[in-house]
Amino acid sequence: AEKVTVFAAASMKEVIEQAAAKFEAKTGTKVTSSFAASSVLAKQIEQGAPANIFISADLDWMDYLEQRNLIDKPSRKIVAGNALVILTKKDKGDAAAILKAGRFAMGDPSNVPAGKYGKSALETLKIWDEVSKNAVFTENVRAALEFVSRGEANAAIVYASDHTAAPDLVEAYRFAGSTHKPILYPAALVGKEASAEGKAFLDFLASDEGQEIIKSKGFVGASDKAG
C-alpha cells in the first residue's frame, strides 16, 4: 500500500501518532508525519512539499492554502476542536484574580493562535487592559507550561489539550466557548489529485475511532464544536 504523509501542527503530534498506529494496523498503509508550526507547514506545501494531508492549528493557514488552490477543497473538514484554559500550580479561582496576581504566559496574540483566542477571551471578559501588562508571550505551549512549572509565571493560558503535557498543573479556569471564536483544527487533502490512502486516513480521523483518540488527548471532538 502507498504511504500517507501528514503535515500537522505540532500540537497534534500525540493524536496523529496514535491514530497513525491504529490506521496502519488496520489498513497496512504506513503514515509518516511532519510536525511543525502551521505557518511553516503551509509555506512548505506552497513550495511543493510531498504532503498528502495538512492539519492546521487554525483556520487562517488553511485558508491561505485554499486561496492558492493548493488543497482539495471538498475534502476540507474540521477534525478537532479545543478549549481554552488557565493552568496554575494552585487551586481554581477567578480568571481575573489569577491573572492579576502576577506574570502569566500565553501565546503571542499577534500570531500564535492560542494567543489570539486568549486575548479575545480576556477582552470579552473586559480584563485585557488590566492584565495584559502581566502577560509573557511564548512561541510554543511547551515553554508556557515550563514557565508555570518552574514558577517563573503564575499561570498559563493554553488549550485544554496541552494539560496532558503538564500533569503537575491544575486547570484553574476554563474560558467559556462564547468568549472567543471557536477553536478548530481543519484538515484537508493536499493537491488536486488526492490519494485514496490519504482520503482514507482523513476519514479515519473523522470516524468514531479517530475522534475517540482525539478526545483522549484532551481535545474536543469535531462534532462537539465546543471551545
Binding site: A37, A42, R103, D108, N111, F137, T138, A143, G151
Partner: protein
C-alpha cells in the same frame, strides 16, 4: 522608513547583542587563553563543553537557561541576591541567551590566534621592563586583535540572529525581550506578515553589514603597515 515600534525593536536588539558580546568577550578570552596556553587533563572536554550551545538545539539551551537562571533557578537566585540582576523575562536574559549561544564562536578564533602568537615577542617585551599586564596590553592584545575581531563579529552576528534559546528562556515580550529575530518570527507566523518581516530582515542585514565592514576597517587600521 521604520515605525516607532520597529525602531524600539532595533534598539533593543542592538542593546541585547552588544551587551551580550561585551560581557561575554572577556570570559571567552580567558577561556581561549586557558585552552591555548595550558595543558591539563580534561582540556578537550572543556573545549567540548564550550561548543555545546552550538550542538544541542537552541530550544534545549533555552530550557536549561530557564532552569538555571530563572527566578527560581540556583544561578538566577544567586545573581539576583548578589548582584541584584534578574534575567527572567528581561532584556538581560535575552542578552544572557545571546551571549551563551555566541560563546563558542567567540572562543575559537581567539584560541587560534593565541596559539599562533609568537611568544618570543612577549619575552622580548618583558626583557625590556614591561610587566605581564603591560606586555599583555602593548604586545599580546594588539597582535591578537584579528582573532578577537573575528570572534566578536561572528558572536555579534549570532547574538543578533539568536532565536530559539531566547524565546524559550525569556519569551517574546514586546519592548522587553522581543528582539529583531523574535519579531521577524512573529510576523512570519501570520499570513499577512511577510512585508513587515521583510523590512525587519533588511534591518538585520544592514546592521550586520555595518558591523562586518567596521570590523574589517578596524583591523586594517590597527594592523597598520604589517604585512
Amino acid at each position: 522608513m521604520l515605525g516607532e515600534t520597529e525602531w524600539a525593536i532595533v534598539l533593543l536588539s542592538l542593546r541585547v547583542a552588544l551587551v551580550a558580546i561585551l560581557v561575554a568577550l572577556p570570559f571567552a578570552f580567558i577561556i581561549a587563553w586557558i585552552l591555548a596556553r595550558f595543558s591539563f587533563w580534561g582540556k578537550s572536554l572543556l573545549q567540548a563543553l564550550i561548543t555545546m550551545p552550538l550542538v544541542i538545539p537552541p530550544v534545549v539551551t533555552g530550557y536549561l537557561l530557564l532552569v538555571w537562571f530563572g527566578a527560581r533557578g540556583t544561578l538566577g537566585g544567586f545573581f539576583n541576591d548578589v548582584f541584584g540582576l534578574t534575567f527572567s523575562f528581561r532584556w538581560t536574559g535575552a542578552a544572557l541567551a545571546a551571549g551563551v549561544m555566541a560563546f563558542p564562536l567567540l572562543v575559537r578564533p581567539m584560541r587560534l590566534s593565541i596559539e599562533s602568537l609568537d611568544r618570543g615577542l612577549e619575552e622580548a617585551a618583558r626583557s625590556l621592563g614591561a610587566g605581564r599586564i603591560v606586555v599583555f596590553f602593548t604586545v599580546t592584545l594588539p597582535l591578537l586583535l584579528p582573532g578577537i575581531l573575528a570572534g566578536a563579529v561572528l558572536g555579534f552576528a549570532k547574538a543578533l540572529g539568536e532565536f530559539g534559546a531566547t524565546i524559550t528562556f525569556v519569551s517574546n515580550i514586546p519592548g522587553e525581550t522581543q528582539t529583531l529575530s523574535l519579531a521577524i518570527y512573529s510576523l512570519l507566523q501570520s499570513p499577512a506578515g511577510d512585508a513587515a518581516a521583510l523590512r525587519l530582515i533588511l534591518v538585520s542585514v544592514v546592521i550586520s553589514i555595518v558591523a562586518v565592514v567596521a570590523s574589517e576597517w578596524l583591523q586594517r587600521r590597527l594592523s597598520g603597515g604589517r604585512t
